[in-house]
Symmetry: C2
């Protein structure tokens, strides 16, 4: 029981050639029911488990897919603090395992290192989360490995993509806040220059302002990295201005949570004195005090679809590119207050 049986051991015990065992396993060739049963029985008895590395070496598919979670700040494990990523990862892992594939994770950027990893491990496919401007897109493409981008605004339409309509989502959200009577609405986000997603959301925000005849001033824009702590800092900055801001649209729930915490520490009450709206719909947004109104995106669905797309492409290398836009949903809780229109 301790030792490792190879396909040849099984073959010997079943009195057939190793090829036969292989065919029984893969079903790629017809084997008589009798022999089949005999082989299966031996496999059962020996507890034989085929070696996927050997399989990958010989055949084509390693049944290993890579997931890249971006690392915004070098050396930080930031991405694992935002449950957006962990939830996404969880759904990817789940969908992947159900299909008999395995997930190799890397919290890294798309660099030469990662390209090497793809080849070192012969990854069957790759899911890349987040937006970068990477100088490596073309090299990645040269590898000719199936790729699905999640939440990325990559210029060239080379890879499959799953995302939401960030611009529209943020437009709706901002419009919602304005309809609640707020006219002085701040925008708290990650870096707009560097992050395509943030940029789209910012555009949505501005469009909503414009549509409602509100000037958008730079004084209402608060950029930082996406983190709890940034939220706190932005809250402080907002508290110090005298622009009469009554609501702030955050581009991430963790920013919003940070904002609420920051306001709380300043003695500014949410939503009585200032309203906050988030983005993502993380589970924890349900349990803040007050509950966070937020634009909920289908995080798990993103992961599932990414996996499905990727595996489809692995099965059919000639598959044409797919771009999928998922739906979002505003969930109203208690962090936005109806303001008396001035």
């Amino acid at each position: 029981m301790k030792e490792r049986y190879t396909i040849r051991d099984v073959a010997a015990l079943a009195g057939v050639s190793n090829a036969t065992v292989s065919y029984v396993l893969s079903g790629k060739k017809k084997i008589s029911e009798e022999t089949r049963q005999r082989v299966l029985k031996v496999i059962e008895e020996t507890g034989f488990v085929p070696d996927l590395n050997a399989r990958g070496l010989s055949g084509k598919d390693t049944r290993l897919i890579g997931v890249v979670i971006p690392q915004t700040e070098p050396g930080s494990k930031l991405m694992f603090h935002n449950t957006f990523y962990s939830q996404l990862l969880g759904s990817i892992e789940f969908a992947t395992r159900r299909r008999g594939y395995h997930v190799l994770i890397s919290a890294t950027d798309m660099t030469q290192d990662y390209l090497n990893l793809i080849r070192e491990r012969n990854l069957a496919g790759v899911i890349i989360v987040g937006t970068y401007e990477s100088r490596f897109w073309d090299r990645l493409r040269e590898l000719e490995v199936p790729v699905v981008l999640v939440d990325s605004y990559c210029k060239n339409d080379w890879f499959h993509a799953i995302r939401i309509d960030d611009e529209y989502a943020c437009f709706c959200e901002t419009d919602y806040v304005i309809r609640k009577g707020h006219r002085r609405v701040a925008f708290a986000s990650g870096s707009i220059k560097e992050d395509g997603v943030m940029q789209k959301r910012y555009n949505g925000y501005r469009r909503a302002l414009t549509k409602n005849g509100i000037d958008c001033s730079d004084a209402f824009l608060f950029e930082d990295v996406v983190s709890y702590e940034s939220g706190v800092k932005i809250a402080e900055r907002i508290a110090q201005t005298d622009t009469g801001i009554t609501a702030v649209v955050a581009t991430a729930d963790i920013l919003a949570v940070g904002l609420m915490s920051g306001f709380y520490r300043q003695g500014i009450r949410v939503p009585e004195e200032i309203s906050v709206i988030g983005f993502d719909g993380l589970e924890e947004s349900k349990y803040t005090t007050p509950g966070l109104t937020t634009m909920q995106q289908p995080i798990s669905r993103k992961g599932e679809r990414a996996v499905e797309l990727l595996l489809d492409n692995i099965g059919d290398p000639k598959m044409e590119r797919v771009e999928e836009v998922l739906e979002v949903k505003l969930v109203e809780r208690d962090s936005v207050r109806t303001a008396e229109s001035t």
Copy 2:
């Protein structure tokens, strides 16, 4: 550039045998500096990357380690909602990659399926997070693969283990609450029967009560699964009792966050009317309103040490078992109030 160079291609281009290239790469044999440089140059030019699957097949070490994150409820991805796990995973991934290994994740229990995975992929080692009573420990042991258990109270001392002193930590925490003047202290936790960690913490809690001459009544014990939602439910249950509870010790930050949210919804103010103390020291506990006082455990350190231990063992299969107990630290924030002693 598009094609894949093998070690033999490199060898041919450098005018040496493939064995030489292999030795240059591994350094397991002396190769003249001149030849070495020539080989290295070709590798550089061709962009040759060795195939780790082939390497694993031939040699011993696949440089792949498996991380098992438990799945408390079947079909749920719960574990990816609790940032305790994602932070741990992040630190494991980071430490692992720095050492040239890769991480295969599985959100699953330790079942036959996972044992198969270990063999299918020839995992070099495995890190198992969380506590189970698994019927598969002995089979896992038979596989003779290095294993590090994190936060597990496995009866048999077969595997390396990293943990904190849960009993003592919870003792301190409870004692702290009592010293703050609370005498009627509830305990909110996951299943004490099924989860060794919870059990230890419960023991610590009871010991602190006893030490302070307080009876521990079952009426003060609130068990459920570890989740935000459980926290809310427990808060409701507490609100309905008339046992005069003034503080609650939670065995997880997410439980504590749920509790605070639950109390808030009931109109019970934290900490004015009831105090809450958490466990874990997740980043988000800094940003709750009020800030959560909690017992902080060195989550990232746990991950790092687990990886170090595992890789040490991989390097030295005869290494003797190590059990490491890490330090915790109480971090005081604003969710516990000094009660006037009655």
